[in-house]
């Protein structure tokens, strides 16, 4: 019964000559926030893409809830409970925020071969979507077109969509990327609200955010995880400081 929610075993990914993921082992426990930190180009996004199915690993194995999902398509993984947010915002630009989140709700609510009833009158779906918008604080902008809101708001929309899928595990790829300090604080607040409730694999550059949110932490360098531990221990680990955190945290 003590099996982790997500378990990655000996994952490898090569792009031609570039080794982007190198003998990577990782596990995320139920209800925990696990952060992955690492310098630019370390292979963090590549890792997330392999977990969510956009990229096929060169070799290795991914188990989710004790099931081998390595061969699953992106859509099937999403339906199994893996929700991803993108480092580079990826939403349906010409649609409203509400319509975007409704698509996320709909995707996790059975098949969509329904040709007749209008979703605009589906109050259950609208309510569920509004709930996610409230969670990230976008409910007052529900009817704005995604292309017309600010960058920070679109980042929040990303997270709202991932939440609306009702996932078992959230894969968040730098949710604070490109945000101002106020928006970052807001996002940290949103994520801490989820803590304990949802398992999260969090990729983040902002160390303060990581230290306040994560239960445990892995350090990724050149596609390989060089250390995994509790936040406290990583902070005091001199190898890690040298490899990644640099002088300011030493």
């Amino acid at each position: 019964m003590n099996q982790p929610l997500l378990e990655v075993t000996d994952l490898n990914k090569n792009f031609g000559g570039i080794i982007a993921t190198n003998r990577l082992y990782l596990s995320v426990e139920q209800g925990q926030v696990h952060a992955v930190i690492g310098p630019n180009g370390a292979g963090k996004t590549t890792l997330i893409s392999q977990l969510s199915g956009q990229l096929k690993p060169t070799s290795g194995r991914i188990d989710f809830e004790g099931r081998n999902i390595t061969g699953f398509s992106t859509a099937r993984r999403a339906r199994a409970g893996l929700a991803r947010s993108f480092q580079i915002t990826s939403v349906i630009m010409p649609m409203t925020l509400l319509e975007n989140v409704m698509l996320a709700v709909q995707g996790s609510d059975g098949h969509s071969f329904r040709f007749w009833s209008s979703v605009q009158r589906d109050s259950a779906m609208i309510d569920a979507a509004m709930k996610s918008l409230v969670e990230v604080g976008l409910d007052d902008r529900a009817d704005r077109i995604a292309a017309q809101v600010s960058h920070g708001e679109r980042r929040q929309l990303e997270v709202a969509m991932a939440l609306a899928m009702g996932p078992k595990l959230l894969l968040l790829d730098e949710p604070m990327a490109g945000m101002g300090s106020e928006e970052t604080a807001r996002m940290v607040e949103i994520l801490s609200g989820l803590k304990g409730d949802k398992a999260i694999l969090l990729i983040e550059h902002d160390m303060d955010a990581v230290f306040s949110l994560a239960d445990s932490l892995s350090v990724l360098v050149n596609g390989h995880i060089i250390a995994t531990d509790t936040v406290e221990k990583i902070r005091n680990n001199s190898d890690v400081q040298r490899a990644y955190l640099g002088e300011e945290h030493a």
Binding site: R76, T96, E99, Q106, F115
Partner: protein, 320 residues
């Protein structure tokens, strides 16, 4: 995104449909039966354009082979008629079956590709059908086939007289409009529209987009096949020419000039097309050239085609 036009444009379209409903009466009063012919043909093309709009406008699947379904539908009337089978249900059933199957098989392949490749491969498949019929000497090959009698239906559904055929076409048009309206607002349609803008994102939301897009492609093909079945009955002479790639291009013109991805856009676009074709070809033999220039102008300067202009009017109205 607003799909069903409101206010000014809704008024215009309702009036337009009402006019279509009484058109045969008007033409008989002014004694111009030729116009009924023109309108019947226009409405058949409109149904075809509506079906293309479903994949092109809503789904972002730019098919340059849609006229193949017009041909398939027409030959599903012509070939049975050649063997003296005139049963209308047989024609209709055959049309649905053959166009659906053709869309399923070719769509399964086309939808593996994107962008220009998609355009080219849809074109290739339609040319395949074209040349197949050209080579079928038994059914007239290049010269085509004459259909001596229209599809036979029970009296209340008969399409014998020109007016009865017109109402057949008009009814199919109304059903198509209503069906597409429901479909694009239903769950299925939202997946189609979402996939047009960001297919990767839709997949990561849990949608196996390929299946939905393929289903949409088949629905579109079947509707266009039915338009072809009506066309076969209307022209009573069918030939491979009606599924040539120029006809496919014209269908794209109708969709784009009217306003792709809007419910009534293709209808307006078809009206514009038929009007231009009729009157420009009267003035100059280079009317296709004028079409081309208009299309380029529209792509460069226009926003959302004729429907776009109409709904810009709506927006002004709201502010004022």
């Amino acid at each position: 995104m607003r799909i069903l036009p409101k206010t000014v444009s809704a008024g215009v379209y309702t009036g337009f449909l009402a006019l279509l409903a009484i058109a045969p009466w008007i033409f008989s009063v002014i004694d111009e039966p030729f116009y009924l012919d023109l309108l019947s043909r226009g409405l058949i093309l409109a149904i075809a354009a509506l079906s293309l709009n479903l994949i092109l406008g809503y789904g972002g699947m730019v098919s340059l082979g849609h006229a193949a379904y017009l041909g398939i539908g027409a030959y599903c009337v012509g070939i049975p008629a050649y063997y003296d089978f005139y049963n209308g249900w047989l024609h209709l059933g055959l049309t649905v079956l053959v166009s659906g199957l053709f869309a399923l098989v070719t769509g399964a392949i086309c939808l593996r590709t994107k962008g220009v490749y998609f355009i080219m491969i849809t074109l290739a498949f339609s040319q395949m059908v074209y040349f197949t019929f050209v080579s079928l000497e038994e059914y007239g090959g290049d010269d085509g086939l004459v259909i001596y009698l229209r599809s036979e239906f029970p009296t209340w559904l008969s399409m014998e007289s020109p007016v009865a055929l017109y109402y057949w076409i008009f009814t199919v048009l109304l059903i198509t409009l209503f069906f597409i309206h429901r479909l694009v607002h239903a769950r299925f349609g939202r997946v189609i529209v979402g996939s047009r803008f960001n297919e990767d994102r839709m997949q990561s939301l849990g949608y196996s987009t390929y299946r939905y897009r393929l289903t949409c492609y088949v629905i579109s093909g079947v509707i266009c096949g039915i338009a072809g079945m009506l066309l076969g009955n209307f022209t009573s002479f069918i030939s491979p020419e009606m599924m040539g790639w120029t006809r496919s291009g014209e269908l794209i013109f109708m969709v784009v000039i009217g306003g792709a991805g809007t419910l009534f856009g293709p209808l307006v676009g078809t009206a514009a097309f038929v009007f231009l074709e009729e009157f420009l070809s009267y003035i100059t033999i280079y009317w296709h050239l004028i079409f081309g220039l208009m299309l380029i102008a529209l792509v460069l300067f226009g926003k959302g085609g004729i429907h776009g202009w109409l709904s810009a009017f709506d927006r002004k109205e709201k502010r004022g």
